[in-house]
Amino acid sequence: MKCEDAGQVCDKSQYKEASFWEKLKLNVHLLYCNTCREYTKKNVKLSIVFKKSNLKIMSLHDKKELKKQIHQEIAK
């Protein structure tokens, strides 16, 4: 496995979208690759920080509505 692929599998697994085999290959890669091990560590921490932050965002639909409102108001 190349580092590039390892990084991507690591990203996917943060969203639970990596398959069993991908994760297995990643773990083998991590046994000997320091760089990817570092990246994995950071990446997992990032996921934890986001979970802890409990951030909320506005839905796309609401954003579109809001844009429409503003455009109408500007056009007045």
């Binding site: 990084g7 991507q8 990203d11 996917k12 943060q14 969203y15 979208e17 990246y39 950071k42 990446n43 921490k45 990032l46 920080v49 986001f50 802890k52 932050s53 409990n54 951030l55 909320k56 965002i57 506005m58 839905s59 796309l60 609401d62 954003k63 809001l66 844009k67 409102q69 503003i70 455009h71 108001e73 500007i74």
Partner: protein, 183 residues
């Protein structure tokens, strides 16, 4: 120095998530949050001539939003007279102990969490500002709202491999940016 300018056409893309998060932790209701943000933008448009460019656009919008939130609190509070506060003892033995019993109620902890989260939230949003707008949006949808890869690809007309490249860059940038204080 008055380099800051208002650009209302970009408000929704640039600030709606930040304002949304700021508001929802305070009013705890997404419908009310949406209304308050919409009122904030409209009030901003009306008073845009008062903007002197000394603050950033975001700070200025937040200052309007804060007033809207306070107004909202006042409105709910004016109904409070109708409510009665009742304190009941859970059983006879604990009669007279209610103050002590309630000392360790969870409110303090919530307040602490709220402060921590809003600081962490601000840190995250400051880091998100460094990303390209579209990438930031995709990253937020995937990471905060857990959107399906497929749904995002469809919405932005990109391939899954495009998406993962964007996510990878965003995650790297975010990790580096948050590294100093939050890891």
């Amino acid at each position: 120095m008055s380099n800051n300018q208002l650009n209302p056409n970009l408000w929704v893309d640039k600030y709606s998530d930040y304002l949304f998060n700021f508001t929802i932790v305070r009013v705890n209701d997404s419908e009310i949050t949406k209304d308050l943000i919409s009122e904030t933008f409209l009030a901003g448009l009306k008073s845009k001539d008062n903007f002197k460019g000394e603050a950033s656009e975001r700070t200025w919008l937040i200052s309007i939003l804060k007033r809207k939130i306070i107004d909202h609190y006042r409105k709910i509070n004016s109904n409070k007279g109708k409510a009665e506060v009742r304190i009941t003892y859970s059983d006879e033995e604990s009669e007279g102990d209610w103050l002590e019993e309630r000392v360790s109620d969870p409110y303090d902890k919530n307040a602490e969490d709220l402060i921590l989260n809003s600081e962490l939230g601000t840190a995250i949003y400051n880091c998100l500002d460094n990303l390209n707008e579209k990438h930031a949006l995709i990253f937020k949808m995937k990471t905060i709202d857990n959107f399906d890869t497929e749904a995002i690809c469809k919405e932005f007309d990109i391939s899954p491999s495009n998406l993962w490249v964007i996510i990878h860059r965003a995650r790297k940038a975010m990790a580096d940016c948050l590294n100093e204080n939050w890891f």
